[in-house]
Amino acid sequence: MYSEKVIDHFMNPRNVGEIKDADGVGQVGNAKCGDIMKMYLKIENDIIVDAKFKTFGCGAAVATSSMATELVIGKTVDEALKITNKVVAEALNGLPPQKMHCSNLAEEAIRAAIEDYKIKKGILNDTTMKQACSRRCDDVQAEMNDHDE
């Protein structure tokens, strides 16, 4: 079901943990979906110099979290914002269709952590974190129910 790369990132996840003095922290997902991802970013001169994560979720959720941290390190904030769930999935040599929603976690966690960074820096005023995964998971569930009919 999973590519070798997904299994590799699941079994040997890169950058697990937390950054105590993180410049941006974002948590997305919810326990109802079975997936929660928390991402910590260390940002210096607009460049992401370190990223760590913690994830409660399936193999795909862990692998996408791991890959997302690898992808953001060394990128500018604006470059990191361009990382979509599709980019993360492709970097893992693909995910099974029913697991694509897990890759949303990675995209949304990056956005949430950067949003937090921008709020702390005073660049953003909006303090409402978007619970995008919850929304998308609901969409996936609705789609599945439609198929049942």
């Binding site: 699941f10 079994m11 079975g34 795909a60 897990c102 569930q141 599945m144």
Partner: protein
């Protein structure tokens, strides 16, 4: 992926025993006759089917004429429920079942609701146990069928089938039990438990896949399931799966012969696993009834981690197991059984089912206990949910010290 060395998923399926396979083999090639044919090679197939029917009937305490071979346990469940519902439409439209049945029963009931039937889905308690009195209270004048599984496929809880059977008999309502997980593990006599219909599946007790059977008590009003030829006395047309049926007959015969020693062994493995896991790993709960459960079933929920991750890591160590996690099913909701016993989503996601079989040994449990605590720790270290609990505990400890 690592090769599977230890198989703990016997509730999903079992391997075919060599003696079962040996009995089946001639019917693939040399004894290939169609059982409906009049010539010798056809009669030979017919004879083999009837011998298998006798064996199933003997084990269940039924008459051979009450045994009908099917393509699976799911087919047997579909036939029992739809067949009784359609045949008894003039008597009523109400069916009673439980909300922890296998999807073969639940989806069949949902289908019948669209056909105008009414279904009551009885709740179970925190151990997955149904109260027989709930069944009595739910029976209405227009109730035609009660369908309650013998033992749950996920949490192993064994239902009070004999008590329910007594009630349905008193009330004159047909009673079906999906005994797919129970046959081969528990002695069952259809008269002792007063069932009218009982489903079985060969691959759950070391028989082949693709063959099952439905016991239909004489006098039960039921429609034919597949229309066509005169096979299975015209009730289930289709050229018989002769090797499969022969295999089912042999497998059930062997299972019944060894059932006591088999149960004793599985019980030892079950009890040891439950005790060791609960004692050695924190934040774990046992799902299902502590005593009233299948001898070879254990089902745990490990808090703060997700079941599929646990399965993948066990797989890497060569252990095959199962989970009620949503991520293993392609759905987003965890198992309906775990939700029905009241587990919150985040705990239901972290379930692990281990089902033992005759090749499992104490060495297998030794190895499980060698790797499982480390896997759970590794996943918890990665979990933001666990991180929150650890922080809270640290604060509480700090407050106490002050």
């Amino acid at each position: 992926m690592t090769e599977t060395n230890i198989y703990f998923d016997h509730a999903a399926t079992t391997w075919v025993k060599p003696e079962v396979l040996e009995t089946m083999m001639p019917y693939f090639k040399d004894k290939y006759g169609n059982a409906s044919s009049v010539y010798a090679i056809g009669r030979e197939s017919k004879k083999a089917i009837e011998e298998a029917r006798d064996k199933v009937a003997l084990v269940l305490g039924a008459q051979p004429k009450e045994i009908f071979f099917t393509g699976s346990g799911t087919e047997a469940d579909n036939w029992a429920i739809k067949g009784v519902a359609y045949a008894n439409r003039d008597k009523g439209k109400h069916i009673i079942t439980s909300n922890i049945e296998h999807h073969a029963v639940l989806h069949t009931c949902k289908y019948l609701e669209k056909e105008g039937f009414e279904v009551t889905y009885l709740p179970v308690d925190k151990d997955g146990l149904l109260d027989a009195e709930q069944v009595r209270e739910a029976i209405r004048p227009d109730t035609i069928l009660v369908s309650v599984m013998f033992a749950n496929n996920e949490i192993g809880t064994i239902q009070p089938i004999a008590e329910i059977g007594k009630i349905t008999k008193e009330k004159g309502v047909f009673f079906h039990t999906d005994a797919v997980q129970a046959v081969g593990n528990i002695k069952i006599n259809v008269d002792d438990i007063n069932v009218d219909l009982l489903s079985i599946s060969a691959h759950k007790f070391y028989g082949p896949k693709g063959v099952g059977a439905l016991y239909i008590r004489r006098g039960t009003k039921i429609t034919s399931f597949i229309h066509g030829g005169a096979q299975e006395r015209g009730r289930r047309a289709s050229t018989e799966n002769v090797p499969g049926i022969v295999g089912l007959g042999k497998a059930i015969e062997i299972a019944d012969l060894n059932i006591e020693s088999y149960n004793k062994k599985l019980l030892e493995l079950r009890e040891r696993t439950i005790n060791e896991v609960l004692n050695k790993i924190p934040y774990v709960r046992l799902n299902g009834h502590r005593q009233k459960r299948l001898p070879g079933n254990v089902n745990f929920s490990f808090e703060f981690i997700e079941g599929e991750s646990l399965l993948l890591m066990l797989d890497m160590k060569g252990i095959a197991a199962s989970s009620g996690s949503a991520c293993t099913s392609g759905s987003l909701d965890p198992s309906h059984v775990l939700m029905a016993i009241g587990l919150p989503h985040e705990i239901a996601h972290g379930s692990l089912r281990l089902t033992f079989g005759e090749e499992n040994t104490h060495e297998d449990i030794d190895f499980l206990m060698e790797v499982l605590p480390g896997i759970v720790s590794k996943l918890r270290e990665m979990s933001p949910l666990y991180e929150a609990v650890v922080s809270k505990e640290r604060i509480e400890r700090g407050n106490k010290n002050v």
